[in-house]
């Protein structure tokens, strides 16, 4: 009996498969998976392979020394990375607006008046309507007392702006009820003596006047040109429960940020694309000059730095064996939004600014797998051969999925790139690598939800959500209720949580559960469905000739992505689904399995 090992060294994981050849034929023994050690294509990978072999050997009840030959793949010389460019910015000048949506505003209605500090109101003339400014130096009882006294002595107080979270407390103690906006941290920045308006919408509603340019024109007596200039304020305040607008001479400016340009050299020409044109424009212009030869970013931009970094890393790894220069061969741009603190804000306002998320893929001729083979051989003392192109091995492995047939397309969705290969009945393989995969999805979830926590974003991507409704039960996103014997920790109460294997993680985000789910699904669609379609268009002329599409790789394990892709591709009458390698491994171990199988079969041509 001869024992063969196949080892697939990927960017993030190293997978091995063990098989045994005897007079009775061939059978699979076991498999294992570990994190890749070092960068893919370097001798450091050997250590990870050895650990995986030890695990697989133990599972098969043999020793590592019993292995006759180890086959490693001709790893795809591909690396992916991501970057984000924010392309718009909001600035409030001279405290012209407050739009932060405090938790507990008070009163409902529209109040128009001249701003005046409540402490010094007595110095002001009666006969004007005032919006009183209430700093934290005044307790809520004092504030209410003063307002009641002033009103009784003839002052007209239309509304109030409060520094502390005490709008309701003051409101409840007033003889005459008026609207209040509270939690305005930087109240001292509001100038006195200016005309302003406070609007608070009734429960469950949003403001109607200050989010309408004509509403503001009516209050502040604006002409047509002036009305046009308050449109950014109206836009910023749309959907708010409360707002304050003050005619200070300042304004709200929505600016475009200079985000540099991409230079794309393709077989059909060269084009320069400004990043602030947005993702749709970027993808359209790239396809005008496709197939791409090289894409570079501008110096000083995030995208430029990302591309430079990737090319340098790739050069380090493939030193000396590349015929052609290393270049970015594919880009996926996705429009997204990112919450950004507004400059000049008085109450910690955050605005959803436009951004473009970009994934790029760098490809070179080959990786020096012979170096890895040498290192692995001395590490284990076993004969190692570099066998077979990754795409071919992956396709062979995928074919072991029960129900799969030829022509077969394998869609490998990993962290840095989405790879596809077509295996024809004649045994010919065509492959392609695209930018945009798991890492881009995590980046976009992180930025759109304003998490500033890549680990949390990764977990939101891969786990379903639940809402903690009481100390003893949660309601999962599919509507089912789960009860607990022991109460949940108080710090989870009322929060949206992730159902992680290690426990329940709270999601600290202002977004409710429905919003987080919508963001998660939308991002997955924008990346994986888009790339599945892009990949298919590249590798086949006639979609309807394909019999099976088998999805493998880390993202094929995702609980939503395979279904989304199947939804889109079912229109073409293709069977598409998550692979089940050897009917046992799910979407893992395709390449390693293929390496073992091809030894038994004697190999496959690559066309």
């Amino acid at each position: 009996m001869k024992i063969i090992a196949g080892a697939d060294i990927g960017n993030s994981t190293t997978e091995v498969c063990l098989g045994a050849i005897s007079d009775n034929g061939f059978r699979f023994l076991s498999e294992a998976m570990v994190a890749t050690t070092g960068m893919k294509g370097t001798p450091a990978n050997a250590k990870g392979v050895r650990v995986a072999l030890e695990q697989a050997a133990e599972a098969a009840g043999i020793q590592v020394q019993d292995i006759a030959v180890i086959r490693i793949n001709e790893a795809a010389p591909v690396m992916g990375d991501t970057a984000m460019e924010t392309i718009t910015e909001t600035v409030i000048t001279q405290s012209a607006m407050i739009g932060h949506n405090p938790d507990t505003p008070a009163g409902a209605g529209l109040a128009v008046g001249i701003t005046a500090g409540l402490e010094t109101l007595q110095e002001k003339p009666k006969g004007e309507a005032y919006l009183v400014l209430i700093p934290q130096s005044l307790s809520y009882e004092e504030a209410a007392e003063r307002i009641n006294e002033a009103a009784a002595s003839g002052y007209t107080i239309a509304g109030g702006i409060v520094q502390r979270d005490e709008g309701v407390l003051i409101y409840n103690r007033l003889k005459e009820k008026i609207p209040f906006v509270d939690e305005v941290k930087a109240i001292e920045k509001i100038p006195e003596g200016k005309k302003g308006a406070v609007e608070v919408a009734p429960d469950g509603q949003t403001i109607q006047t200050l989010s309408n340019p004509y509403g503001m024109a009516s209050i502040f007596h604006l002409n047509a040109d002036e009305t046009k200039s308050v449109v950014p304020i109206a836009k910023s305040l749309m959907g708010n429960r409360s707002a304050v607008v003050i005619r200070t001479g300042g304004e709200v400016r929505a600016k475009t940020i200079q985000a540099g340009a991409l230079t794309a050299v393709g077989e059909r020409g060269t084009v320069q694309i400004p990043v602030d044109a947005g993702a749709e424009a970027i993808m359209a212009r790239l396809s005008e000059v496709a197939p791409l030869i090289s894409v570079t970013g501008e110096e000083g931009t995030h995208v430029g730095a990302m591309i430079d970094g990737m090319i340098r890393s790739m050069k380090d790894v493939s030193e000396g064996i590349s015929q052609h220069s290393i270049a970015v061969k594919d880009v996926l741009a996705v429009d997204t939004t990112i919450p950004v603190s507004v400059e000049g804000a008085l109450a910690g306002e955050v605005s959803m600014e436009n951004a473009v998320g970009i994934a790029a893929m760098v490809k070179t001729d080959a990786l020096p797998m012979r170096n890895v083979a040498k290192a692995l051989s001395s590490e284990t003392g076993i004969y190692v051969e570099v066998a077979g192109v990754e795409a071919v091995m992956a396709s062979l492995g995928a074919l072991t999925t029960p129900g799969a047939g030829l022509p077969l397309v394998i869609l490998d969705m990993g962290g840095g790139s989405t790879d596809a290969a077509l295996l024809s009945p004649e045994g010919v393989v065509k492959s392609i690598h695209l930018a945009g995969a798991g890492q881009l999805a995590t980046l976009l979830i992180d930025s759109e939800l304003g998490l500033e926590n890549r680990g949390l974003a990764e977990r939101i991507k891969t786990h379903p959500l639940a809402k903690v409704e009481s100390m003893f039960h949660i309601r999962t996103e599919d509507g089912l209720v789960r009860f607990f014997e022991e109460p949940l920790p108080p710090k989870l109460y009322g929060k949206v949580i992730i159902l992680d294997e290690d426990g329940y993680l709270p999601v600290e985000s202002r977004a409710g559960m429905e919003k987080i789910i919508a963001v998660r699904r939308d991002i997955k669609k924008k990346i994986f469905v888009t790339n599945a379609v892009r990949a298919l268009r590249e590798i086949t002329e006639n979609l309807r000739e394909i019999k099976s599409i088998v999805m493998v790789g880390g993202c094929a394990l995702d609980f939503e992505i395979p279904a989304m892709i199947l939804q889109e591709l079912s229109r073409y009458g293709i069977t598409a689904g998550r692979g089940n390698i050897r009917g046992a491994c799910g979407p893992r171990n395709a390449v390693a399995t293929g390496l073992v199988m091809s030894y038994a079969d004697g190999g496959t041509r690559h066309g």
Partner: protein
């Protein structure tokens, strides 16, 4: 006043300003809170009694510089929160958290 469904606060502590702060915290959150002076029991016993007396099933007991929120539904897993009151802001936040529990929204103590 009267019979509005309220969080009950039973206090043996002479410091009425802390009770006022708790009530302000709950009031700002829009939930009613009623305070009564008590004669016997420690903070835990007071909190338990208060939670039983409250139609919302939430009570606060205050004694000896300690304050705790007791929630009937938690049974033997009480108290929900337990603090040593040193500042008015702490008292304010405890009152707000008792109210937030009733509303089903995340607690300030969980931030």
């Amino acid at each position: 006043m009267g019979n509005r469904p309220s969080i009950e606060v039973w206090s043996r502590d002479p410091r009425t300003d802390w009770i006022e702060e708790m009530q302000a915290g709950a009031e700002e959150e829009g939930v009613w809170m009623r305070a009564t002076q008590a004669d016997t029991g420690d903070a835990g016993a007071l909190a338990q009694g208060a939670s039983r007396a409250s139609p919302l099933g939430v009570g606060v007991g205050v004694y000896g510089g300690q304050a705790m929120i007791w929630v009937e539904a938690l049974h033997r897993f009480n108290p929900l929160l337990h603090i040593e009151i040193k500042t008015r802001d702490q008292a304010r936040q405890l009152g707000a958290d008792a109210a937030r529990y009733v509303k089903g929204t995340p607690l300030k103590a969980g931030e």
